[in-house]
């Protein structure tokens, strides 16, 4: 067996470039909302985090190749995210109930 062979999908330049365009557009969007929507603070915070999460997901799926790699990496990512969400909820509960 040829151990050096990756039976992997090769990302096309076009797809990577498209990913970059999407990320840049999302960046401009979040800056725009922050600079021109400063009257709506709560909305701005929520939007900024939402857009950041969309960007992070895009980076993970396309740049980090999670979309095409074995399922294992995605499953483990979900485990780590769940763990973090658990910490987050515990901290929020702690501070809300003081």
């Amino acid at each position: 067996m040829d151990n050096t062979h990756h039976e992997e999908h090769i990302s096309s330049y076009a797809e990577l470039f498209g990913t970059w365009v999407a990320l840049i557009l999302l960046t401009f969007m979040t800056v725009f909302i922050s600079v021109f929507g400063s009257g709506l603070q709560t909305l701005t915070v929520a939007m900024a985090l939402l857009i950041a999460s969309v960007k992070a997901t895009v980076v993970g799926l396309y740049f980090m190749h999670l979309k095409y790699d074995q399922k294992m990496y995605r499953v483990m990512m979900m485990v780590v995210m769940s763990l973090f969400t658990f910490f987050l909820i515990m901290v929020i509960l702690d501070y809300l109930t003081r």
């Binding site: 050096t4 990302s11 330049y13 800056v31 950041a52 990496y73």
Partner: protein
């Protein structure tokens, strides 16, 4: 008696899957490291909303935006470099890696100017102006320096990692058939980008 023995794969222990899994395991711990810091940020922000808001106006949104674009673009160049090597275009792969390293340096230069401006205003923990600030603003700058500092450290490590990969592509030990190391440096670099994607809105944008 001769005790030499032969490994099943004649000593060439190359396992792309294991190596990638190892890298991912490390990246998961990195996510939790920064995740913990984000929780600290969240709690102190919750307790000092006005002060955090006030302090965040000290940061330069445009420098932050330029740095975000630089990091996103460097993520593109390293991802394309992997594609280039997989397709056998060694030369293009190396050029794209140099571009990534150049972006890392540009990021650090901008960071240097940003930090210098803060130092001039005496905003670094321990400086006179900093010590006179209200508690909430002190916490903001403390977290700002710690989190962007730790991130900048990752940028430096990432750039060195990529430099090693460039050397190994040039001497042929990383090639079209064995590109794990390149892939792993890419994963690390994307993580650096990923962390910045959250740092940028949390410190610069949330007004």
């Amino acid at each position: 008696m001769n005790h030499t023995f032969t490994l099943p794969n004649s000593g060439h222990n190359f396992d792309a899957k294991a190596s990638k899994l190892g890298m991912w395991l490390f990246l998961y711990t990195e996510l939790l490291l920064f995740g913990g810091l984000f929780l600290v940020y969240m709690v102190y922000r919750f307790l000092n909303q006005e002060a955090f808001l006030e302090a965040s106006y000290e940061l330069n949104v445009w420098m932050g935006t330029v740095n975000t674009i630089i990091l996103l673009t460097s993520s593109l160049t390293i991802a394309m470099s992997i594609t280039a090597l997989q397709k056998g275009d060694k030369k293009l792969s190396v050029i794209l890696l140099w571009l990534t390293i150049a972006a890392a340096l540009a990021f650090l230069v901008i960071k240097y100017f940003e930090w210098s401006a803060k130092f001039e205003h005496g905003l670094f923990p321990g400086m006179e102006h900093y010590d006179a600030l209200p508690v909430g603003e002190r916490l903001y700058f403390y977290l700002y320096f710690f989190m962007t500092g730790l991130h900048a450290l990752h940028v430096i490590v990432g750039a060195v990692f990529i430099l090693v990969v460039v050397k190994k592509i040039n001497n042929g030990s990383v090639n079209q058939k064995r590109y794990s190391l390149l892939e792993n440096s890419g994963l690390y670099w994307h993580l650096v980008d990923l962390v910045w994607i959250y740092l940028f809105p949390l410190f610069y944008l949330i007004h």
